[in-house]
Assembly symmetry: C2
């Protein structure tokens, strides 16, 4: 983890580079915002899966973590973190792993959105004398899983859990469709939809005499857009820690906030086409072309100098497994790339630094 | 590695499943084809990075391997394979790693397509008393790297290497644009273009009095389409070992040849939308939406029963990091998914098996 051009010159490429100053700034800004809104913050660690990063999030004030696999839960419990939400719907064949974690002292919370799954949890808990803490997943934007706030099934699932001897810990939702937005107004409205839907679900449980201490919401775009979080007890977000070009297009960060880039080496040229071939393909950059469906497509990445400053007019436009094709951005109406100008960072075997769009799992320490 | 439904029921999900019978069939068919065409076969191991798979390829008759990183070269050299082609253009800062491998006894061949890189190799070799074996990359289809067969630069680069004390091992090309084709005629023509271009480059070198023992061509589609390989000494291919839905759309395999699938568990439903949510997201399935640009888009995968047979009419249409959304394929003109019929494998928490499109790097043994 360094942002010094000097030491980068000797790093084997391709390599993921974390700008720790930017990362700390992102962590600080999010935590400050959550403190001001009066809610706890539970970062989603699937973004980095990286212990030093998660330690920095907790040092800044985060309360517990969110994980997307029980493997991540085990890794971070082994690192000393006990308050862990496994934020993917629980199924019967994963209950033994969840039990093993709880038996080791992990304060693991599990999730469900169906009566079948709730019954399986309750039956397994009874058979093993374990009181699982279970949260109910709420669907506030129709993008994936969860029970809609006004569905009858909400009370059915909660009753199965509560009467079956589980600890009904609360409700949670994730407005993942916020990734598809790109105006302040739409983001504010989605954050309010996420908040009000989840609070509404909690109120229905409480009106039915059921416990619901936690009301958990979040996604990076809504966490950074919510104007009030009345009734919410905690927020979850992950991508904010490094940000990426998708978040830039959503409008919640600038390119100067992006803390992850990939250092690469020019390994060849096709001068007639204006291409430089680099040693960062999609294995290094990620195959996730997140900006493809957005209003501005950054290909596989923006190009930066070794100092981290964006070099305007270039993108990593193509990629194979271990090769990237770096070129001038095509202008509308021009069928061919422009020839690379004098300022071209690729005209000699230099090391341009490509702005990355997504966290990769090969970060140092992960 | 198993294809027995019985034992799959107890496997933690998501899990990559290799059908070894299909894999062995694919290996056998390719090797038999190469033997009949009178060429050696050098599999590209970046597809699997998996020692048992590569051992099966060599046992079937392969001569040496192709790698895309020096890390792969080191892994397979440690496994006892010495004849290794590093098929990505060499740059100065990777020469120390290449030297270290050669000093350990690895018969590593390196690649170049530029005078700058050739000079760097020659200078480094002279400084360290090492005679590198270097192949020259030829561009036969304009898709990425290489020198075109008739370019003057070909003789310049070869002369720098030969006079500078390197071992000029041969020429190689990869007609990667064959992935964009989908008719037998176009594939046969591309295979011939790849062959004739590479042979032409070799002839130019030999006419100039330069050595060129190896003429290496290949991609899975062209290897399976070439009608003759006159003048070629070896072929390279990787994807054929498991195949995938991209190759199905290219027309060089059927779905019954695909040897890699991902076992997943249904973790929830959105009945009104006809969705089943499964625990295989793009981390398990790969984010590589290879069929997106093809005539038939399979989303993140086709759906199979636990016996491996395709269940018609369903795809893994959406995916987040750890969640997949399984649904009925949309029919043209229908705006919504059809409700899932009785035969629906997803109406209960069964384990549908999703046909995978790309090799993942988390295979057993890799």
């Amino acid at each position: 983890m360094t942002n010094h051009s000097q030491s980068l010159a000797s790093v084997d490429t391709p390599a993921a580079i974390i700008d720790t100053q930017r990362m700390q700034h992102n962590i600080h800004c999010m935590q400050t915002r959550m403190d001001a809104l009066g809610v706890r913050f539970r970062p989603h660690v699937k973004t980095t899966k990286c212990s030093p990063v998660v330690k920095a999030q907790i040092a800044a004030g985060a309360s517990g973590i969110t994980v997307s696999t029980l493997k991540e839960a085990t890794q971070f419990f082994d690192d000393g973190i006990t308050d862990i939400l496994y934020a993917v719907g629980m199924v019967a064949n994963k209950l033994p792993q969840a039990l093993a974690l709880r038996r080791r002292g992990c304060d693991l919370k599990i999730l469900t959105d169906s009566a079948d799954s709730a019954r399986a949890i309750v039956a397994f808990g009874a058979a093993h004398g374990e009181m699982f803490e279970v949260w109910i997943e709420i669907d506030t934007d129709g993008h994936r899983s969860g029970i809609r706030p006004d569905e009858p099934a909400l009370l059915d699932v909660a009753t199965i859990l509560h009467e079956g001897g589980a600890c009904l810990g609360g409700v949670m939702t994730h407005a993942g469709s916020s990734y598809e937005l790109n105006t302040r107004e739409a983001l504010v409205a989605m954050a309010e939809q996420e908040r009000s839907g989840c609070v509404r679900a909690a109120e229905r449980l409480r009106q039915a005499g059921l416990p619901c201490p936690v009301v958990s919401v979040g996604s990076t775009p809504t966490a950074l857009s919510a104007e009030n979080l009345q009734g919410v007890t905690e927020v979850r977000a992950g991508v904010y820690v490094f940000f990426d070009l998708v978040m830039h297009n959503v409008g919640v960060c600038s390119t100067d906030d992006i803390a992850l880039s990939v250092l690469t080496t020019v390994i060849g040229h096709q001068a007639e086409k204006g291409w430089a071939i680099v040693d960062a393909g999609w294995m290094a950059m990620s195959r996730d072309r997140g900006t493809q469906k957005q209003q501005r497509d950054f290909g596989y990445g923006l190009v930066c100098g070794i100092d981290g400053a964006v070099i305007p007019g270039y993108i990593l436009g193509g990629a194979n497994q271990e090769h990237g094709i770096l070129s001038a951005r095509r202008r509308p109406g021009h069928r061919h790339c422009r020839a690379l100008p004098d300022r071209d960072p690729t005209a000699h075997p230099a090391q341009p630094r490509l702005r990355h769009r997504r966290a990769v799992s090969c970060l140092p320490g992960s």
